[in-house]
Symmetry: C2
Subunit: 367 residues, 2 copies
């Protein structure tokens, strides 16, 4: 029996009501306040559902892009989570139930499930009061792989709630809903949830107010991510503990310049420069890589096989390399899988994926 979630009293919204009927506006720079503000009184929306059910999908994402640590992420195609959300008259109005989750490693209590928390936050933001919802989560992403698994669930859920009620929330509000989930699960970081919702590359400029910069990788350029996931559970606490409290001024300037180079490479569509920047982190990766058996050798193998750059995806253990040709990507992936086995005694699997430029989206609607 799925647990029900009783919503806490509505928090005031910080946004004016949205009249935009686009499913997901995509401005270059979006700004919003993460603080509740009494100057913006709560909206009495309680919107009417437009559909009886919707199915949504949100892609995997790669955060901590080398020198882009903690503020830059991108969405990748092929992998992701799927949410089915429906109006459920068995569920008390204004409440959410999780009817099924495809893995038993995740709770069906909405308060302890990424998708549940984000869905509830989106319901709050929309002031859904008169309808109960039932959510089913299909995990396409492995847990704890460094590919933004929790963010994908949250993004798919928030987008599903929004679509069910006529797409009244902006991308910013959807991201804030997702952030409510991320904060409880993996920390208040938007570098997975923002690209999972917006697609492409997203830079998190600030959190209060939340300001995001969409970095458009040129449409005409090819970019492939080689994602190699070893069978290894990363001790997340250890990964966080590996971060230094302080950074030498020289390393700071170096990483800052590489972060600038990374942003330039994305906007200019310079895959070689992007790879170079990815590989150039002197602060986080050198401390984290030794905690993933074979990672340093995997990076070397990727570069030797022709990758423009390679680093740890998120907090690992997935390694991510970049290239501009799919076939080359396959060969690079093979080399990296071999290196994980040879140097880390870890079995691993490789996938070559494109940039996901769309982000979380509705894949079907039932009237």
């Amino acid at each position: 029996m799925a647990a029900l979630c009783i919503q806490t009293p509505f928090k005031p919204l910080t946004f004016p009501p949205h009249t935009n009927t686009n499913p997901k506006p995509k401005p270059t720079i979006i700004r919003c306040s993460t603080k509740a503000s009494i100057s913006n009184p709560p909206l009495a929306l309680d919107p009417h559902p437009q559909y009886s059910s919707v199915v949504s999908f949100a892609p995997a994402s790669v955060a901590n892009l080398g020198p882009g640590f903690d503020f830059l992420g991108c969405a990748v195609s092929g992998l992701g989570d799927t949410v089915t959300l429906r109006i459920d008259h068995q569920v008390p109005p204004g409440h959410l139930s999780i009817s099924s989750v495809s893995t038993r490693h995740l709770s069906t209590n909405p308060l302890f499930n990424c998708a549940g928390i984000a869905a509830i936050s989106a319901m709050r933001r929309l002031r859904v009061r008169s309808h109960g919802l039932s959510l089913s989560l299909h995990k396409g992403l492995p847990l704890g792989s460094g590919l933004g698994s929790s963010a994908a669930s949250a993004a798919a859920a928030a987008v599903a709630v929004n679509a069910l009620f006529g797409d009244r929330l902006s991308a910013s509000e959807l991201i804030l809903a997702g952030l409510d989930s991320e904060a409880k699960v993996s920390g208040y970081h938007a570098d997975n949830i923002a690209p999972a919702i917006m697609g492409g590359f997203v830079l998190i400029r600030s959190y209060d107010p939340l300001e995001l910069i969409e970095l458009k990788f040129p449409e005409e350029k090819e970019l492939f991510f080689v994602l190699v996931s070893p069978e290894f559970e990363v001790p997340t606490k250890k990964m966080r503990a590996a971060l230094p409290a302080e950074v030498g001024m020289k390393e700071h300037v170096w990483n800052c310049s590489q972060a600038g180079g990374l942003v330039a490479a994305v906007l200019l569509g310079d895959v070689e420069g992007l790879g170079k920047a990815l590989s150039a982190d002197r602060i986080v990766e050198p401390r984290r890589a030794p905690l993933i058996p074979g990672m340093e050798g995997v990076k070397r193998a990727a570069i030797e096989a022709g990758a423009f750059g390679c680093t740890i995806s998120g907090a690992g253990p997935t390694a991510v390399a970049v290239t501009d040709e799919e076939e080359k990507g396959v060969r690079i992936g093979e080399s990296m899988v071999e290196a994980f086995w040879r140097e880390g005694m870890l079995k691993a699997s490789a996938a070559v994926q494109r940039l996901d430029r769309v982000g979380a989206r509705v894949v079907s609607r039932s009237p």
Copy 2:
């Protein structure tokens, strides 16, 4: 009587001979090795002069752009240094003499003069052996103002030498010549000399090899720099000593994200975002601003007057603010001048300038 400089033995060049006849190629990303390499044997150029004399100009530049500390700079219009260079049969072949300098604060010994050092380095790179040169430097930039005064002299000199002999050196080689000068005068930093030579915004990705990324601010967008220079001599050593040896991880991530935001703002032509990023440095400016009387108040005054952002130009004491309208720039400048007087008891002068997109150039040639 101007001092003569006897050149030390030629160092091997690291470049292949240039067949490019463009005066200054402007690639998006330029790479070159800063190390002498025996695999690239010295070139026996000793080129023939194309002119009897040339006059060159190089613009002021703003480095340490907030979170762009030590790796990002841009050239600004209106102000700059002028070099007149001529074939002088009174000067021994392969040698350089400085015939005049417009300020008595600078040496006429080419080995102790920014223009002289850069000119000699350019002569070496060209293998000028059969002609003696005479250089005259007119300083349009005040010394020690934080506007890249030494870089402007070096850039103008290197470009003049190159032009006199038919523009055989690439932009990278000119920058390396300028770097030889900067290294002796203000440290091995290219964030003034690169924009002084290339124009626009330039990101220094690495020094060995030297890799520069030209960040094109969109042609159709307006960008104005409000440069306010107080009558105050900055104790350079004190400014460098104010830098922390280490930086907290949180500040590091913040500044990195602002550096990324700054680069994005430049490439997207987002003047507001550019200003915001300029203002957002939490590492260098907070430690240096208190050493310039009134600087914190000047920054506040600039923002209150409508500037999108404000920071210290270079190592100061000039304050730089940005806006998208010239008239607004004039008002902002007045407010900043007033604030320097009110809060720092310093007289100051303001200038509103555009981005210089061209960089160092020849302004006249005599056959």
